[in-house]
Amino acid sequence: MLENYLPILIFLVLGMLFAVVPLGLGFILGPRKPDSEKLSPYECGFEAFEDARMKFDVRYYLVAILFIIFDLEIAFLFPWAVVLEEIGLFGALAMLVFLGLLVVGFIYEWKKGALEWE
């Protein structure tokens, strides 16, 4: 069964090549005339006055954490969805409990305003 995945590996390597080769061609064929203005970060004509690695809104971080929770939930749902017809009512009820718990959490974060943007 695992040998079915070999073409995928080859495809990934080839996909990388399809990215590396044009990039290399771009370096070879394009001009190379760096100057300090060209290499400075773009900022609408201003001199960049501070580093770009600055503080950012905590909500992006929150979205990332919520994403992990829900993505795990989806990862658990996938195998369940495939065999649902075999496991029948018991399987469906078990997943209902699990989903119910997560929905309670979802409602809580909603009411807490974790999903609000402005």
């Binding site: 495809f11 080839l14 771009g26 394009g30 994403f67 993505d71 989806i74 649902l84 999903l115």
Partner: protein, 361 residues
């Protein structure tokens, strides 16, 4: 002459060890997927400019070659001969890795797409998981590009884009759970076969809410209009790829369009029966079980084109969403809708209710 060539070829081929034969054969198949895909990407950019041009009452590119048909080639050549600028503050290694991380998965995801019955590169059972993994890696390309550029606009664009992409990935994942429940398999070929029996058996009908959620999430996932705040040229100029030029920019561009075509192909596979004919088992103008009812590659391509056209149509029609509206749509509308519909589906499947899943169909 031909016979001589054939015998020589067969002799040379026969001498090669089976591993080499296997690799060469796989590489040939991969090229048979990638080259048409690249051509499709090139002409998708042309079609976009023409279609949106006509929708806005102008002509679009029509100077290079006949009807402007050589425009994408001219664009590619131009980008090839432009300088790849490496900003002085940038982290060079990550800066150059990011476009590769965008493009490679966008291409490699095509390994599991069935173009016709059994006509796919890798007939694997965890194809849906693989697809989700590949579409997730694209987020890394975006966030690494924004971080490595060390530019404020790039950074803001990457933050926005990655938060938006992960949000819609959830909605997309939930929509796919519905497809898996209906098909009972993660193998894309089996998922298509589960929809056989004519267009009323396609999953688009019993899974209509999931279908809509899936495609709209796909549009948001690829950062296309009306969800293109990540680029938002009027506020953050171009978002995460503002510092990229020449071929490095072209790779992002290719990846974006390859992803759009991928989402279209997936929507066709999951919800519109992939390579199946819509007229299967239905008589049309008295031609019944004729050519029209024949499944095949042409149906897959046609369905994919329909979704690709909708992408352009959306861009020409809708103004850009505000960021808070995007996040509200993703979290407060799509996720509840999909959760409810998964519950409905579970009841329909376990209780054998409804015209689709009743009676163990």
């Amino acid at each position: 002459m031909m016979a001589w060539l054939e015998t020589t070829w067969l002799t040379v081929w026969g001498v090669l060890p089976p591993e080499v034969q296997y690799t060469v054969w796989t590489l040939t198949k991969i090229l048979a997927i990638v080259l048409p895909l690249m051509l499709a990407v090139a002409y998708f950019t042309y079609a976009e400019r023409r279609v949106i041009g006509y929708m806005q009452g102008r002509r679009g590119p029509n100077r290079v070659g006949w009807y402007g048909l050589l425009q994408p080639i001219a664009d590619a050549l131009k980008l090839m001969f432009k300088e790849v600028v490496l900003p002085s503050n940038a982290n060079r290694f990550l800066f150059l890795t990011a476009p590769m991380l965008s493009l490679a998965p966008a291409l490699a995801a095509w390994a599991v797409i069935p173009f016709n019955d059994g006509m796919l590169l890798a007939d694997v059972n965890a194809a849906v998981l693989y697809l989700l993994a590949m579409t997730s890696i694209t987020v890394y390309g975006v966030i690494i590009a924004g971080w490595a550029s060390n530019s404020k606009y790039a950074f803001l664009g990457a933050m926005r884009a990655s938060a938006q992409m992960v949000s819609y990935e959830l909605a997309m994942g939930f929509a796919l759970v519905g497809v898996l429940m209906a098909a009972g398999s993660m193998n894309l070929n089996t998922i298509v076969q589960a929809q056989s029996g004519g267009m009323f058996y396609w999953f688009a009908l019993p899974l209509l809410p999931l279908f809509v959620v899936y495609f709209i999430s796909g549009v948001a996932e690829t950062n296309r209009a009306p969800f293109d705040v990540a680029e938002g040229e009027s506020e953050i100029v171009a978002g995460f790829h503002v510092e990229y030029g020449g071929m490095a920019f072209a790779l992002f561009f290719l990846a974006e369009y390859a992803n759009m075509i991928l989402i279209s192909a997936l929507a066709a596979t999951f919800f519109l029966g992939g390579w199946l004919s819509p007229f299967e088992g239905i008589g049309v103008f008295g031609v019944g079980e004729s050519l029209l009812a024949e499944p095949g590659l042409h149906w897959f391509v046609l369905k994919t084109f329909i979704f690709m056209f909708i992408y352009l149509w959306l861009r020409a029609t809708f103004p850009r969403y505000r960021y808070d509206q995007i996040m509200r749509l993703g979290w407060k509308v799509f996720i509840p809708v999909t959760l409810v519909w998964i519950g409905v589906l579970a009841v329909m499947i376990v209780g054998d209710i409804g015209p689709w899943f009743g009676g163990g169909a």
